[in-house]
Amino acid sequence: MEQFFQQLFNGLAVGGIYALVALGYTMVYGVLKLINFAHGDLFTIGSYLGLTMLVSWNLSGLLPPFLGMLVVFVMVSLFVALIGWALERAAYRPLRNASRLSAVVSALGASIFFENAIMLVYGARVYVYPDFLRPDFVLNIFGVAIPAMRIIVITVTVALMFGLWGFIQRTKMGAAIRAVALDQGAARLMGINVDRVISLVFLIGPALGGAAGLLIGVYYGQIDFTMGWNYGLKAFTAAILGGIGNIPGAMLGGFLLGVTEAFAAAYIAVAWKDAVAFLALILILIIRPTGILGERTADKL
């Protein structure tokens, strides 16, 4: 039972990070019907930028720990958001009217570009996040010892998700995003500036992705330049699992995948952990391509 709860919380923490990245995939897919393959690499950029700020700029040393972390968190999100915005301008906007697969290839190109740019800047080695960032005390919840780090990650991801949810549902800009996702042409006719909405989505999604990158660095303590693909695919799986284009779906899918993976690692075999996630992805696409919360729509002939 002890192991069960340990794995549950571990799965929820990792799943929350997946969910944050999945939100970026799902929002972009919602407005552009494009799988932004470069999103995983934006996540990697987030964790590398975070490392640079924490170690080279010594932000965590100059400021009190909590405030330092907060500043780093905000700055990483901002930087990655700007990169995401630039990516859309350079690689996707010129292809807005081209065939969808052209944009997919462009996204792949962007992903390869980012991955290798990180490698050229930082070198092809594994980096380690400073240890002192990880609070090492353990919380005792109903007799189960849970490392505080897990609780913190879960709290932060859930808070960010609620923030996004409120923004999408309660604000005028959020309504514009929902309108563009439903029907770009109609939204334009209603006076919504579609280009601005798309830019906004490419600011929010990467900001969350960058934040997730920072969290993964702090949580696992280890980052490398190829991890974007792996986490990107996992997060994409989460987005599909919940129903791509569906925001609550991405959150649900992220947590579900994280927990499934944690249990698979604990009860099946660690070596097959990644295979389980990919198998899940393939099975969903075969059995229910619209995901758990997605709605079935008819193909227009």
Binding site: L34, I35, A90, A91, P94, L95, A98, S99, R100, L101, S102, A103, V104, V105, S106, L108, G109, A110, S111, I112, F113, F114, E115, N116, A117, M119, L120, W229, L233, F236, I240, A269, A271, W272, D274, A275, F278, L279, L281, I282, L285, I286, P289, L301
Partner: protein, 315 residues
Amino acid sequence: MKRRVFSIVLAGVICVLPLFCNPYWTDVCVSVGLFALLSLSLNVMLGQAGIFNMGHAAFFAVGAYAAAILNTVCQWPIFLTMIPAGIAAGVFALAVARPIIHLRGDYLLVVTIGIVEIVRIALINDVFGLTGGANGIFNISRPSLFGVKIYKGWQFYYLVWGVTAVSMLLFYGLWRSRFGRALNCIKEDDIAAEGCGINVVGYKLAAFSLGAFWAGMAGAIYASKMVTIAPESFNFSESVLLFAAVILSGGSQLGVLCSVFLFFGLPEVLREFSDARMLIFGLAMMAMMIWRPQGLLPPLPRRYRVAAAAGDGKK
């Protein structure tokens, strides 16, 4: 016309190249030839039928492992393993593609990435106790042809490029027939193709298995060339490179050869830039989609000999 001259010159250069190469460069040319064979096999599905397969290394791996196991466990000569290796890869492709082949391009891409990762993880975990885990399989024998053992660089060179040339001829025949036309129709518009009476699922599966079959044969040659194979040789970035090469080629066989030289030959020539090559390819993929979405050398339109009566309208 220009293209014909170019192909003849290219063929001539390929024929005499080993005469001017030291062993190192011959070896490089052998790898380029293997990648050419692999890219041509990927072109069957990606270039001709528009099937977004980003897990081609999986079929390459199945072929290489099938050949290696038949050779080391059953003691088959490596040449005899080529066809079974191809069949193993083709059957594997058919089995995994059957449930997913109807998926949309971008979804298919993600699923094939998943497949190549699962294959790699399975190989590392030593499925069936035959794949040797993370270390792979050793002591694969060299091929021998008519009693002549092939082990020197130039021998492999002519073996690989000979197989590539024969493959290109066979594929060329295919593209100029109803089979190739059907694949092109599916690439252009699969709903219209189905509405014309083309069995879309059947042809997609045929293209998929055919490409995998050829990749499997390439795998057998690779296994005999390297003598040792390990899961890390068949990773996902290999698939990405192949995918990018075929996309940038535009889909003609000549285009595929050119982009293979660009992707796998040029980085060897410009060693000092080899770190940056993927960066440049990534940029090239974006730039190409924006300014030249049809690729480097798209296939020329097929020409048909039609009866003289209708010929007056020919421009």
